[in-house]
């Protein structure tokens, strides 16, 4: 039976010389060889890089030197995040052979902290999707139920942690793409506030929404990874100067009767009855832990999906204009430059990406900009105001992460709008810029995981992690 490793577990075993970083790495690559063909969660492996890092860590252990925070910890990186010298495809054919000449800041920080990077994980193309069925490299299967989706767009990053093929991983979240796969795969998954983690090296989808964040098996490990990657980066002008607290030290501090908001709009129709039962059980657990539960209203919740799909697609249409076959990626040759652009993009992008580029270009085009994009930006302000108002009354907000349990592969692929509506509880926090975590909150029929989402105020990550940790330690995953 394979060991379930945690970050502390790895460091203790290394320090006690029970296992070397190289041996641990070998163990993980054997697991990956056994399970990845079925899951399709990893797109590429980076054994040479991983071995070099593992050797570095083993040398530190041999010298009796202090070990950095993620020493020897096997980790995976979503394939929209740049890794120097390693193919970074964004799940797209248009970047099938793209090799970045630099590392994302988040990747640099992980390696500086000793993490051993195993490989790149599968995802929806350019992070556009909620099921990992939009990848040009095939879907990812949910390790807990192979006929079901792992969620998206960070399906691969969630699946590898859930299947024991990495101790932690990085994903990205634009409208729910970390939280929802975390929920579907039964593991904790967090996005920090917008600006908490540098986006340098994150291949852009929607620049005012994109965030990098961690998946792990335990909330404590999510906290540790977040602490490593967070912090001001001069290479990302949207990264905040707010200091990074010691998230690990905040966990396990006794809760001082926090006030938790239960927003009426997230508990209306449209939630699966079995999901509702588990979420209600989770809320009851928070009550048992001594939290005060307060009914709140967030009146613009129902407008969030419409707002999101205007703003995100508009920004995507701009960000994806760079894929033209000139400098990198796929080129479909032609005698005319403009025809080369059209053919390259026509051949290289998948249907969901094309759909969003068309929609995004439309809402920005002359005659429509005011009615759609400008209107969307105004409603976004109202949605952010809902959160601002709520946090005057409560310390954190509890919601379901997803209205439905993990659905079956192919179930939602023919109707894009149906797929978009799956993000109904997550896009709100994305638009408002606030941090959010999904924590495991029971399993339907003992198999299909449900996730409970906790939103905090801007830069309130410590509080969110504290609550999530208390919930987990009190048996939240087994409600």
């Amino acid at each position: 039976m394979a060991t379930t490793w945690t970050i502390d577990g790895v460091k203790e075993a290394l320090a006690a010389k029970k296992i070397s970083a190289r041996e641990l790495l070998g163990d993980f690559y054997r697991r990956i060889e056994a399970r990845n063909p079925e899951l399709n969660a990893y797109l590429a492996l980076t054994p040479a890089r991983a071995r070099r890092q593992a050797d570095r860590i083993d040398a530190l252990v041999a010298a009796g030197s202090p070990l950095p925070p993620l020493a020897g910890v096997p980790m995976a990186i979503k394939d929209v995040i740049s890794t120097r010298g390693t193919k970074t495809t964004c799940g797209s054919k248009i970047l099938e052979n793209y090799i970045p000449p630099y590392d994302a800041t988040a990747v640099e920080r992980l390696e500086a902290a000793g993490a051993v990077l195993l490989g790149k994980t599968n995802c929806d193309e350019f992070a556009m999707g909620s099921s990992n069925e939009n990848s040009a490299y095939g879907p990812v299967k949910n390790p807990l139920a192979l006929d079901r989706v792992p969620g998206g767009s960070s399906g691969g990053s969630a699946a590898v942690v859930a299947a024991g093929l990495a101790v932690a991983s990085l994903g990205t979240d634009t409208g729910g793409s970390i939280r929802q796969p975390g929920s579907f795969c039964g593991i904790p998954a967090m996005m920090g506030s917008y600006g908490r983690v540098s986006r340098y090296g994150l291949i852009a989808f929607a620049s005012s929404l994109d965030r990098i964040g961690p998946f792990a098996g335990k909330v404590r490990d999510v906290a540790t990874v977040l602490g490593v990657i967070a912090g001001r980066d001069p290479l990302d002008s949207t990264s905040t100067t707010a200091p990074v607290p010691d998230y690990g030290a905040e966990l396990g501090k006794p809760l001082k009767r926090p006030r938790l908001g239960i927003p009426k709009e997230y508990f209306a129709e449209g939630m699966d009855a079995n999901v509702r039962k588990k979420i209600e059980a989770g809320i009851a657990l928070f009550r048992k832990l001594g939290c005060e539960l307060i009914d709140i209203r967030m009146p613009h919740t129902d407008f969030a999906i419409a707002t999101y799909y205007i703003i995100a697609t508009a920004e995507a249409s701009s960000n994806l204009a760079r894929y033209d076959g000139v400098r990198y990626g796929l080129r479909v040759p032609d005698d005319s430059l403009l025809a080369m652009y059209r053919k390259t993009r026509g051949a290289g992008f998948g249907p969901e990406v094309k759909r969003r580029i068309v929609l995004g270009t439309y809402v920005l085009s002359a005659g429509y900009y005011d009615a759609y994009y400008l209107k969307g930006q105004k409603v976004r302000a109202l949605i952010a105001e809902d959160f601002h108002d709520a946090f005057r009354k409560v310390d954190a907000i509890l919601t379901p992460t997803s209205p439905v349990p993990p659905f079956k592969l192919g179930e939602r692929t023919s109707d894009p709008l149906q797929m978009y509506l799956a993000d109904i509880y997550t896009v709100t926090g994305s638009l408002a810029g606030v941090p959010g975590i999904s924590v495991p909150c029971g399993k339907i029929d003992g198999q299909l995981p449900v996730g409970l989402q906790i939103f905090g105020p801007p830069f309130g990550e410590a509080r969110v992690l504290q609550l999530a940790h208390a919930f987990e330690q009190a048996g939240g995953a087994e409600v």
Partner: protein, 100 residues
């Protein structure tokens, strides 16, 4: 119907996207449905609301002062050209631009 075939063609041209006839019709129908849904934003009176152009508040945003205009080494050019579709260092070779 909110969006016509001509609308999609025009937008595809703006976005330099070659779409087949089948794609054109499929996307048109899907985007039509989505735009219909997005129309619900008109239920809200936003006449007195400022658009949210920035996500970070003033006190959370990065230091707005510009850095010194100093040259910093950046040695990726060779690497980038090595992996380009049709390099002729130090250039990227492209087909000639044809006047419309």
């Amino acid at each position: 119907m909110k969006i016509s075939r001509e609308d999609v063609l025009r937008v595809a041209e703006l976005a330099y996207l070659d779409l087949s006839d089948a794609e054109l019709e499929t996307y048109r129908a899907q985007i039509d449905e989505i735009l219909e849904y997005i129309g619900k934003l008109n239920e809200l009176d936003t006449s007195k609301v400022e658009p949210m152009a920035q996500v970070l508040a003033e006190d959370q945003a990065a230091d707005a002062t510009l850095r010194e205009d100093l040259l910093v080494p950046c040695e990726v050019a060779e690497d980038v050209l090595d992996h380009a579709p049709d390099p002729e260092p130090p250039y990227f070779r492209v087909p000639k631009v044809i006047e419309r």
